[in-house]
Subunit: 143 residues, 2 copies
């Protein structure tokens, strides 16, 4: 299985490959796994999350192919991020509060606020980038 914080980059690889071939007839999960060069079970796990989130559709059967469910211009990287069910970038610790310590009693709300704001900045950056942007960048690098 892909390490937990690289699962998103596998997800991005999958949608980039499907976005690159969007005008074609779709790709099988084996073809996608070949592009990622990862074991097919890792890729299937990510594909299943993308399908559940409505980003990818797949036709069952021998010639079953996966496709993006809509134009890559209309899929943000934040949607892909959430579909990959990543852990929060940082999390509030869960040690119990000490009642007579003013810092311990009040810090969790403060931490949730500060860390939530940082996570929101991270999410906003992904929301502003589409799968089409990613595919264009890949084409530019290959040119």
């Amino acid at each position: 299985m892909a390490p937990i914080n690289t699962r998103f980059s596998v997800g991005l690889h999958v949608v980039a490959a499907l976005g690159y071939h969007y005008a074609g007839g779709g790709m099988t999960s084996d073809q996608i796994a070949q592009s990622v060069n990862a074991d097919p079970s890792s890729v299937r796990r990510v594909l299943s999350g993308l399908a559940k989130a409505g980003i990818v559709t797949s036709r069952r059967g021998h010639r079953g192919a996966c496709r993006l469910s809509r134009d890559p211009v209309h899929i943000s990287l934040l949607e892909v991020y959430r579909a990959c069910e990543p852990p929060a970038a940082v999390a509030v610790h869960d040690y119990p509060a000490v009642a007579d310590c003013p810092v311990s009693s009040n810090i969790k709300g403060s931490l949730a606020f500060v860390l939530g704001r940082a996570q929101a900045s991270f999410d906003d950056s992904l929301a502003r980038t589409s799968v089409a942007h990613l595919v264009d960048d890949i084409r530019d690098r290959g040119a």
Copy 2:
């Protein structure tokens, strides 16, 4: 040991406790561990990272106390984040590129760019918040 993505929130708890008591005589690492309510070895590990980064100073010996090395107004949460040596929020996968696949051959540069930008937004949010802000927020919640 604290789970890897909560180590930063333990670090924030430590600097918040030291910031709260900044005008006093400092705190021993046992007093800090009591506030976090975590095992002292986790807290010492975080304290050691904060000391190495020049955020905390400690005096050795029986009455040795830890203090912030400067006014909490001048310590950003980004400094604390880096001192806690967190893993990147997301990382580029390291599956080898497939030479004849244009996506596989070019995606790592694109991923590093996109993920680096998201991480930078996360970092910027932390850079704009100081330990003093955190302490003020804790005081407000306790009021």
